[in-house]
Symmetry: D3
Subunit: 269 residues, 6 copies
């Protein structure tokens, strides 16, 4: 299958007239990548959680004739068990109310211009429940505007990794997805998509972090690896990253096509 | 071990003088059970997610000389994959901002009166991230009041169920904790703690619900079981419920004792 | 008249199916008791302002075939002239915005499930104006949802005490309802309803507190009785408490029946 | 006693340099009149609740060397039992959150410029509890700014009317202060202070309004007098108005002088 | 043209019945003057930004049969380049959220009573964008109430000064409108309208302030004139003030008449 | 002067360790570009107001050893006189409260990690006053955290265009900066920086838009050019764009160097 030009899917690159035409003619799915500016160890950039969902969303959108809105680069507060924690320098997080308001406003604006199919495309586990709240509040807003046919999907791309891909990533078995922050999966996908931003000499080989069954605030720093990587990334590779992308992109596209009842561009390929 | 009278641990039952004395003399851990008013199938009451954390928190508090504040009976919006969903009648949920404000205010009030060790004791999965936000905001508030020694713990009691107890609950294997809403575990614990509120003739035997890998808003009602129970509760029993309670109570108490560096009341027993 | 089982009126005890049936068949009045966790002297528990409205609301609801939703255990900030003040340990109060949001959300949720008759049943004088605001905002919310037949009542049970009952409570004359915090009326009703929670040996015999005609912030602690009781509770008795309950319950039921145009269950008795 | 020029007390009339000098030299009490734009029957203007507290505050401030900040002309939502209700045209009310924010900001601004003694001078009963909230929140704000010596007073001028003045106003006895909206007291004081704004030919002679013991929302319009006056104003007179002003002004000044430990200007007269 | 009595246009002076009649019969334009309590040098009062828009709005309203609602006396935070800055004593400013909420509530209240033409009449440059936000949010509110014919105008009276009037004010040429805070224009108009509040002996003759091209926070106090006047006011005169008022009043009236399609009262003069 | 690699200045590209080192060693200025997703005529992309400030901020930051944080791609609501208006499809705007919260959170996060010099680098005129509010609120937040040495600058790059550059852009004279939306200046800079995103065949040659002196809400669409370009862009060229960039970049760098008392990297070149 021949992929379309990425430029054709970015809302940022369109004129308002192109956007207007697309919305009125195609009823396109609009994707909003929602990331974070968050520590990702000594080897990955602070924007890892933006690059991954944006890159994957672009590929999915191409297959579905969708549009990708500008990514949200700031997300919810990093937590020790899923991101190492908010105390790492450079981790710039939003209060929950801010993040919810931001997503809610954007959904409402898209709906105001006639968009009726929106995918909130998450790249940062900590964002999940605030995405839910934004979607719920925006649906209420739209209902009060008389809009009752808006459909929103919340989605974390990692949820679509199949057991087969998991076996490629972790031939010796996955310890836990919760510990995969800045570890094998994310490092591999970054090596595939943006090798220029990976410091390969600094890829850590940490043992899996061990956390208590509860969450203390302020954070107890003792169980958190000092470099912020929750398990070993040593076995990461661009090939593994390619395997992830090549599996999740069509699978997400197919799932969304079914949900929104549209046909992916590659369906006939 | 002889358990203390429940009455001795409920803040609601104390006079202000008793509370004042306890705080100044004992530096007690104060527990805030955080539940929900949420559908729990045709056999369990709408208050299931309040009864369970409150009952378990009381037992843990007794062991640690702690105090249990009045429970929060309204929680975050029920979601299909973890609670069946907000559309079931009787499910009375709060907006995220409301729930966060409520918990934040209570933490600040406890801290104002000198409490320095607080456990946010969750009984409803949907509450988790909003508890995190409330704890974070209250710590900021307290820091600005000059209080720097406040320690907060967020805890879901179900996280403490060990593999051994899991084996008792699910001799044929657990399908997924995510599907345990109103199913074997919750029904069993209710049969143990509050059999008067369980309609045993109505316990359902649903197959496991199957959800897509993403979350649609508005909810897609098709994969949601019509009675709201996400998998079979048929094998529930009071004995299983007792096993859960008798295992998690001491384990939670021990974990908190380590974290807060206090000794559980039963330690010397 | 034979009173119905309390269990039949508590929303918390119902399954969602029972609630759904009740709402669709009976158009029931739903009561929301709104209390406080507030000092009540050396003899009454911190939950006095929850117990009283909840207990009375349950009795009223039984007569009207109503439903009582889980009580709000945290209320607005205790004030010197009506509650002794917020500085007493154990008094855990909410900011106005939090309390308003909490009530507004619950009203909206009840309306979402089809409830059209709601009684905000107050047990704490300081809550009054925030109840008004919540009712007003929720009516606006519902109007924007297209719901125009929602009826809300705000009610303080103490407003229904008749001169005759007042004469029973205060044979020598009432000094002022404003000073009745933790005094004769509340102590008597607690002795009637929950004697197990009253420390009879500690019932104070304070002279009436004298406050200036204005309110200073921060509080001027000098006119506030050190135990928080604003006048003497020495003449309290369970009999007086019974007299209050037995008078206000039918009177509130009758007033609500007239307002909502339904017949109390005991009308034909 | 010779009263000072009103011009000398209005913050609005001062240059910033005069204000700066006054604050640094005199530590003046700053009064904030808090009113409403609310129906006051067929004979009194919509600004009655602004004129009364502003006029009285100016007189009190003159005696105490105080300063009167610009009045708040919009207040909380008019209620049937105290103001006839928010449905009367021209009644322009604020949401609670708006009114609280407005007062909180002004208190904080005064404190920022060094003011340490503030009187929130209410002219509209419905404002009372929101004034309390604003004062409480501003004290928290200031505490976090390191300001711990700010003193705030909340005051309704009508609370200071003595039994002797009451006897002048109501020779046949007061029915209820709650029914005095746009009735004898307010009409009399307006006749004394601003006769140009009173339509004497339209002064109503309504019987006392009779309300139920609860508050319905939406309002039940039946018990509300169609002209919005809750009892008869027929016996109002400028002389009665003068009696009120001449009594409450020195009494309020004296009470505040005691509270703030300053001497009223007329003390030595 | 004979101007009507100012008293006939002030909402504050009307009874609710007059207001009701006016709205139902005339569909009047309602003006909301939006000012500030802000330093205006050693010679002008803190209320200058309230007096000017209120006075001009009254004159415009008279010509259009409009109504002037009570002015907002507190505005957005004074900035160095347009007002000298928020640090000058007596400058009492609101947070943006407060100011927006205040205006939004008032617009919504006017609309609730049937007003459909509103002019937000600004007297303080710093208010501008917050007026925009309030208008936008209120239109959304009203749309959700089913009101779709509300028309709002935002207007700064100074925008209407023509080159001819500018030549009268500044025979040697205007340096910059941005520097006109408390300078020739405002001082002249105050000398015309309220000479009693101008301290003529203190009118400053400052050189034009010079600011950098950016805005530093906290303010850099060095480029700010110590008396707060951004350029010379020495050439101010009552005649110049009269020229401004006599030009802008009819011009604003004519512009609004065209926009709202009504005829100014003086049109036939 | 040899410019540094752009990659060295993007916070997004750094690991947390690089960021931590930079902050602790260099006390770098951190730039936050604040843009909009807003119509820019038939020839420029919706992201024009993001590309311009980000590109210029990167060049300024290189000269000052600064760091550029991820840009904000969504800004305040487009207005007719400065941006054509919010009704053009693809214009995705935030409510004021959302935008303020977003910037406030990011400033607070930078300050939390030790940054003390922040430039809020605006690319969209409508953002200006909300940037002011965010800076003011964040300074209050930081003061309450005990941070008193935070310095923030608000800056619009277009303010730095000198008369000499203006003469290059507009040899026949500038009509008004207010009409330069999507016109000569922005088109020229885009032709210089991102010619791939300019549709040169669609560059419009509109006459200058003429607006009334006030702002109507809802917008009056009649004076707004149907393609959203407020004046002619026909004379735009990459050379003009280069002239703008080559002038404003060193000028902004020099101004910031003076303000923050650091030396630009190219100073010694």
């Amino acid at each position: 299958m021949l992929e379309a030009e990425p430029g054709a899917v970015r809302l940022a690159d369109m004129t308002w007239m192109e956007f207007a035409r697309r919305v009125s003619e195609d009823d396109p799915i609009v994707f909003l990548p929602i990331g974070a500016t968050e520590q990702h160890g000594p080897h990955l950039p602070l924007s890892t959680d933006v690059i991954l969902p944006e890159s994957i969303a672009l590929r999915v959108a191409e297959r579905l004739g969708g549009i990708v809105a500008p990514s949200l680069a700031y997300g919810y507060k990093s937590q020790p068990k899923t991101g190492g924690g908010n105390h790492f320098p450079g981790t710039l997080s939003l209060n929950a109310a801010t993040l919810v308001a931001l997503m809610r406003d954007i959904i409402n604006e898209l709906a105001r211009h006639g968009v009726r199919r929106i995918v909130l495309f998450d790249g940062h586990m900590e964002n999940q429940w605030f995405i839910t709240e934004a979607a719920d509040l925006a649906l209420t807003d739209q209902r009060r505007e008389g809009v009752t046919d808006l459909k929103i999907v919340k989605l974390g791309y990692w949820e679509f990794i199949t057991p087969a891909t998991e076996a490629i990533l972790f031939p010796d078995g996955l310890i836990s997805w919760a510990l995969e922050h800045a570890a094998v999966m994310e490092t591999s996908v970054m090596l595939h998509l943006r090798p220029d931003l990976v410091n390969e000499t600094a890829i850590p080989d940490n043992p899996p972090a061990e956390f208590p069954l509860f969450d203390p605030y302020p954070f107890d720093l003792r169980p958190i690896p000092p470099d912020g990587v929750l398990s070993s990334a040593a076995s990461a590779s661009a090939e593994k990253g390619r395997a992830v992308v090549e599996q999740v992109v069509p699978d997400i596209a197919a799932a969304l096509a079914r949900h929104f009842e549209c046909s992916p561009a590659g369906a006939e390929g």
